[in-house]
């Protein structure tokens, strides 16, 4: 009990006086007071949990600032990941909208009845290189996300984002091609979804 009290007393005496300084650091990192307050709180929680790793002779403010910066960077990485996931889901929604557009334009059968080989190759060639590379490797050559990521030296999340965006651009280009070429006609047959292409 005495040890716990001494632990907390030491923390209160050494760490808490730096709270105003940490707040300044947090504002500099986050750019706003509300997020800065959350970050300061997270910083002190972490500092408390790891107080036994603090060397009493060292600079406590610097130690806290390091924790603060790390907490901020972790938070930003998490947010960036969730934004990426949201972007990927929006691309899926865009695919459904594009299907509605194809149906309304009378080219619902676009990919099942038409020989689009040359048009697809041309549309792929017209993509920006960063999108073309992923769609060629993943959708034409059948590489998994992991294999594409390794080949291109980018994270898997980046592969997915680029791939989904590339697919949208391809679908848009092919839809425009079919409409311009006057392929509109009755609806075509349905084909069952086939998952596990990249499992």
């Amino acid at each position: 009990m005495a040890a716990a009290e001494a632990h907390d007393r030491a923390f209160a005496d050494a760490a808490l006086p730096h709270l105003p300084a940490l707040k300044r650091v947090a504002i500099a990192l986050t750019g706003n007071e509300a997020d800065a307050d959350d970050l300061v709180q997270e910083t002190f929680l972490r500092a408390y949990r790891h107080w036994n790793t603090f060397a009493p002779a060292s600079d406590c403010r610097r130690w806290l600032s390091t924790i603060c910066r790390n907490a901020f960077l972790e938070q930003r990485r998490r947010e960036s990941r969730s934004t990426a996931v949201e972007d990927q889901e929006l691309e899926s929604l865009a695919a459904a909208r594009l299907h509605n557009h194809a149906r309304a334009s009378g080219v619902d059968h676009l990919f099942t009845r038409l020989d689009l080989g040359p048009a697809i190759s041309q549309a792929i060639a017209s993509l920006e290189p960063i999108f073309r590379d992923v769609v060629v490797l993943a959708d034409v050559e059948g590489f998994t996300y992991e294999e594409v990521a390794e080949a291109l030296g980018v994270p898997i999340g980046t592969v997915r984002s680029r791939l989904y965006r590339a697919r949208r651009q391809l679908q848009e280009a092919l839809l425009a091609y079919a409409i311009d070429a006057g392929f509109a006609s009755a609806r075509g047959p349905e084909t069952p979804p086939a998952p596990n292409r990249h499992g």
Binding site: A96, L110, F111, S121
Partner: protein, 84 residues
């Protein structure tokens, strides 16, 4: 009639599902939804047909014996032995 919010949640997973990268519980949820929602199923079918069309667009590169020979020769210089 499936709820609209369910439809959106399922369609948000369209590409990951077709690529086979959703987890098992999500996969089962999507399959169950597609069995009762013709609209969502048509979106998935359309996207799947697109992927199949893209995969079919691959142009086959003819066998290049000259290149193969060159490669094997270069490998041989490194100690490579071609087994029958």
């Amino acid at each position: 009639m499936p709820e609209r919010s369910n439809c959106e949640a399922v369609v948000r997973q369209l590409w990951p599902y077709l690529d086979g990268v959703v987890d098992e519980s999500m996969r089962e949820r999507i399959i169950a939804h597609l069995e009762m929602c013709a609209t969502c199923k048509s979106h998935f079918d359309f996207a799947n047909a697109f992927l199949e069309a893209v995969a079919r667009s691959r142009s086959d590169v003819p066998a290049d014996e000259e290149l193969r020979t060159r490669v094997v020769q270069a490998l041989s210089a490194e100690g490579f032995k071609l087994s029958a």
